[in-house]
């Protein structure tokens, strides 16, 4: 925690000083008047405005080109938090803990904030002031302020004064600057509290310095896992302990890639080590894959060939739980490269650090235009309809997505001709498809929007009632969703309520994975079930599946120290590579 207040000044977007001694009153007034400020913090800049001011929030969305992704907010005190959200004692503990993460909380009916803060969501991401500067701003300015990352979408946090003026000059009206140097960028951590325990979505500020014990021989070589291309973190295993980086984020741009490389070199210097093994994902199109090649050369290290995405997820969850041996992996996420060149994300598998065998997976669906279909969930929905329901599905598609006739014809043609339509077996994609079928989200403006919006309709507790899943079939190792798709379309036609369809869909996914896990247990005699992958950030799915698996006698292993999403890949990669050598 930082309690010393550096010398602060308020400047305009040209860097001209507006106020020095009276920066606080001038900044507070600007916020109260609806202006947007860029505020230098301890891990980078925040963009802030009065969260109660709809116009200010909308203007920030417009300028930041971020139409819907929820903004985090900072509240003056707990009373203010309670006026917005329901808060359980465990949530309170996280909220006021020294790391001061952003905690996702369920909102109260009719709370006072404009819906533009988190459009379509029943949650708010809230954190408490964690620097003296925050406390002063929240006490003197608006009591609830948007506190979102000061960056351009997909780019690293802005951390230096001139960089802030250059990059955020078109976003912020004023800048609160000081001359304390920010050595390394560090995003705010983000978590939800489910079943009384923190479930990380982003593990970063306040947490990343804690190395964790992993079950490897302390004498084993220093090993680097570079992680994946989205929500990147990297991991360095030294003497049986894993050092995990802060959230680096997207590696789409060179800027993010540089931050990652610098971070790796800095961590190596700090620990006084040099990796002897470097590994990555198997995806040949990942920037991290290329970076791993370069780093291996630079360190003179062995370039391990890479670790399959879902194997890394599974290994990471096992490692943080300190277990070895074989287990059943129930790995659900959006996109992971399979060694056969197909995309995976719905894997019930067996194995351990040494390797894995695929057990059951969801049937493949072609994704017209690849990443394009992932950005447009309605295209994925059409692909599901036409692939599994044929001519009938085509008719339903034209009925459900009127006004997209031209694009729909094209998508249909792309599917029938097999033009650039890579195959995907993915939990994220079936969430996308159902979200689009229900009209919740047809196009993503941020990654995971369709799935998050659908999951947000469910309560944050395990189902205590019997599941009422839609029908589906096991076809050898393939889980065939045709029955579910037919039934969902029928329900939509009949006007069945959104909440009922959503619940039954969730129950179907749960039943699919539980049934598959039981089949694997019967044939392999394993009973440790590992839950990893970004889909497990869906609290209802996570809690209910965990509950049922335990009832059925499985020992359930989940992430507690790391996020279940791609932020956990690096650790799994490093452990697998180390055991592979």
């Amino acid at each position: 925690m930082e309690d010393r207040l550096p010398r602060i000044r308020l400047v305009d977007k040209y860097g001209d000083i507006i106020a020095q001694d009276d920066w606080l009153s001038r900044a507070s007034r600007a916020l109260n008047q609806g202006h947007i400020l860029a505020v230098k913090g301890i891990g980078g800049f925040h963009l802030t405005c009065d969260a109660r001011n709809r116009e200010a929030v909308s203007e920030l969305r417009r300028r930041k080109r971020r139409p819907a992704k929820p903004f985090a907010i900072m509240c003056r005190d707990i009373v203010t938090v309670k006026s917005l959200c329901h808060i359980a004692p465990e949530e309170m503990e996280y909220l006021v803990s020294p790391p001061a993460p952003i905690v996702l909380l369920r909102t109260r009916e009719g709370h006072a904030l404009p819906k533009e803060i988190a459009p379509g969501m029943g949650t708010l991401g809230i954190m408490m002031p964690y620097t003296q500067l925050h406390r002063l701003l929240l006490e003197n300015g608006p009591p609830i302020q948007v506190m979102t990352s000061g960056n351009v979408n997909g780019m690293p946090l802005v951390k230096d004064n001139q960089e802030a003026l250059d990059v955020l000059g078109h976003v912020a009206d004023y800048f609160l600057l000081h001359d304390d140097h920010i050595g390394f960028r560090c995003d705010d951590s983000l978590l939800s509290v489910v079943n009384g325990k923190g479930l990380f979505i982003r593990r970063s500020r306040g947490y990343h310095h804690h190395a964790i014990e992993v079950p490897v021989d302390p004498g084993s070589p220093v090993t680097l896992g570079v992680g994946g291309d989205m929500k990147n973190t990297f991991s360095l295993i030294v003497e049986g302990r894993a050092h995990l980086s802060q959230h680096i984020g997207s590696l789409e741009y060179v800027e993010g890639q540089r931050v990652m490389e610098e971070g790796i070199l800095h961590l190596c210097d700090t620990l006084g080590v040099r990796p002897m093994i470097v590994t990555s994902d198997l995806h040949p199109g990942y920037n991290s894959y290329r970076i791993a090649d370069g780093l291996a050369e630079r360190f003179g290290a062995l370039r391990h060939r890479g670790v399959q995405h879902h194997h890394a997820h599974m290994a990471s969850c096992m490692a943080e739980n300190g277990v070895d041996g074989d287990a059943i992996g129930i790995i659900l996420d959006g996109t992971g490269y399979g060694p056969d060149g197909r995309m995976r994300g719905f894997e019930i598998m067996t194995g351990g650090y040494h390797g894995f065998t695929r057990g059951y997976h969801l049937a493949y669906v072609p994704l017209p235009g690849g990443d394009g279909a992932i950005r447009r969930p309605w295209v994925t929905a059409v692909a599901y309809l036409i692939t599994f329901l044929g001519q009938e599905g085509r008719k339903i598609a034209f009925r459900l997505f009127p006004g997209r006739g031209y694009e729909l014809e094209l998508v249909d043609r792309i599917l029938s001709q097999g033009i650039n339509a890579p195959l995907a077996s993915s939990c994220g994609r079936i969430f996308d498809a159902v979200s689009a079928l229900l009209g919740l989200c047809l196009e993503n403006t941020y990654e995971g929007q369709a799935a998050v919006t659908l999951g947000d309709l469910m309560p944050w507790s395990a189902s205590r009632e019997a599941l009422d899943p839609y029908p589906f079939d096991f076809n050898g190792p393939i889980i065939d969703p045709t029955g579910m798709l037919v039934a969902i379309c029928d329900d939509i036609d009949r006007g069945t309520g959104l909440s009922i369809i959503t619940k039954r869909f969730h129950h179907t996914i749960i039943r699919m994975v539980v049934d598959a896990a039981e089949r694997v247990r019967e044939s392999k005699g394993l009973s440790n079930a590992v839950l990893s992958g970004g889909t497990w950030q869906n609290p209802y799915l996570y809690l209910t599946t965990g509950h049922i698996l335990k009832e059925r006698g499985f020992k359930v292993l989940t992430h507690g120290l790391l996020p279940p999403g791609d932020g956990s890949l690096a650790l799994g990669q490093a452990v697998v590579a180390l055991k592979d050598i």
Binding site: H283, N420, P422
Partner: protein, 352 residues
């Protein structure tokens, strides 16, 4: 399909395929059918004094100075598409390879590998298109060859052309002249040929007029070379597109090339089609576009000349060469910098 007049002349006697005007294996055996095909189909379209001698080789008049030679094979499917056909490509491709090397294209050879059963009328349409494109480019086909292969051993029609041209004195284009500070210019909208081919091949009914840009560039380029000593290199942007060409330049010169995404000329129609198909227009083929590297003090002059010509009317400066080590960076309109690489296989999804 009724036999064309030419088809009926070519066949000495009746058969089903002959009746239907189709190419037979016998059209490639060097006998009377072959002669008929050459005399009745190829000669009328390609006639010139060197070809008409029917020697084993064409004897060319002496040329002073340096010569340029290139060869290229054309296997495009489908044979016909909006804005062109395999014949037009076979001429433009070779002419443009010579032109961007600084040469004046003059003579071409044309070699045909024909699948048994191709309609003679189809072949004739292709040959007519080649002839027309030759006139456009001011070049002559002076030697040729025809082979026929059994059904399934080739896909309808493959064409190889080789081309010869002469270099004006003093023309010096090449990687060795590129220096940090030079500007990157592209002669027009990118990706049109690639999208047109995919649309035609798969029967996609795309919005907007999406036609191949295939065109001979030697006329346009001949206006640049004498005027611009600061013109350092040109590349035509066929297979692999702009992205591949620019990366190859960076690698060959060990410089970095910085591009501004916002300046890259791509039509809204191509952009929309590429988005839905999941293709990157930077890597789509062009058949009538080139990239030029020019000294900064002559960039405006270059643009002025290009803008005065139909084939260069949408030319843009879109990047700069800087000191570096072979990287190509694209500053996106959103503010991030993307590194461009050589295309490696089909793009696979990366978004979670």
């Amino acid at each position: 399909m009724p036999p064309t007049i030419i088809g009926s002349l070519i066949y000495p006697q009746g058969s089903d395929d002959m009746e239907n005007g189709l190419i037979l294996l016998g059209h490639g055996d060097g006998g009377s059918l072959t002669h008929g095909l050459i005399e009745d189909l190829f000669c009328p379209y390609f006639s010139n004094e060197m070809l008409d001698l029917f020697m084993d080789a064409a004897i060319l008049p002496s040329i002073e100075g340096r010569m340029a030679i290139t060869t290229d094979s054309f296997v495009v499917d489908p044979l016909f598409f909006p804005g062109g056909d395999i014949g037009r490509l076979a001429i433009c491709g070779t002419v443009n390879d010579l032109a961007v090397s600084g040469a004046h294209p003059q003579y071409l050879t044309a070699s045909f590998i024909i699948e048994e059963g191709l309609e003679i009328s189809t072949l004739e349409r292709v040959v007519a298109s080649m002839s027309k494109t030759c006139s456009e480019a001011g070049v002559q086909v002076v030697a040729g060859d025809t082979k026929v292969v059994s059904r399934g051993q080739a896909d309808k029609l493959f064409i190889n052309t080789s081309g010869f041209g002469w270099l004006p004195k003093g023309v010096d284009l090449g990687y060795h002249r590129i220096m940090p500070g030079d500007l990157v210019v592209v002669s027009g909208h990118l990706g049109e040929h690639g999208i047109a081919i995919i649309a035609e091949r798969h029967g996609l009914d795309l919005k907007g007029r999406l036609a191949s840009d295939s065109a001979p560039l030697n006329g346009l380029i001949s206006k640049l070379i004498p005027e611009l000593s600061g013109l350092k290199l040109m590349r035509d942007l066929t297979r692999g597109g702009f992205g591949t060409a620019v990366k190859e330049i960076a690698l060959s010169t060990r410089t970095d090339i910085w591009l501004e995404e916002g300046y890259i000329p791509i039509s809204p129609e191509v952009k929309a089609a590429a988005e839905i198909l999941g293709l990157d227009p930077l890597y789509l083929a062009n058949e009538g576009k080139f990239l030029a590297i020019v000294a900064p003090d002559q960039s405006e002059e270059l643009l002025e000349i290009l803008h005065g010509e139909p084939l260069g009317s949408s030319a843009r400066i879109l990047g700069q060469v800087r000191k570096g080590e072979g990287n190509v960076y694209l500053r996106t309109t959103l503010g991030g910098t993307r590194a461009l690489h050589l295309l490696s296989g089909r793009p696979l999804p990366r978004i979670c």
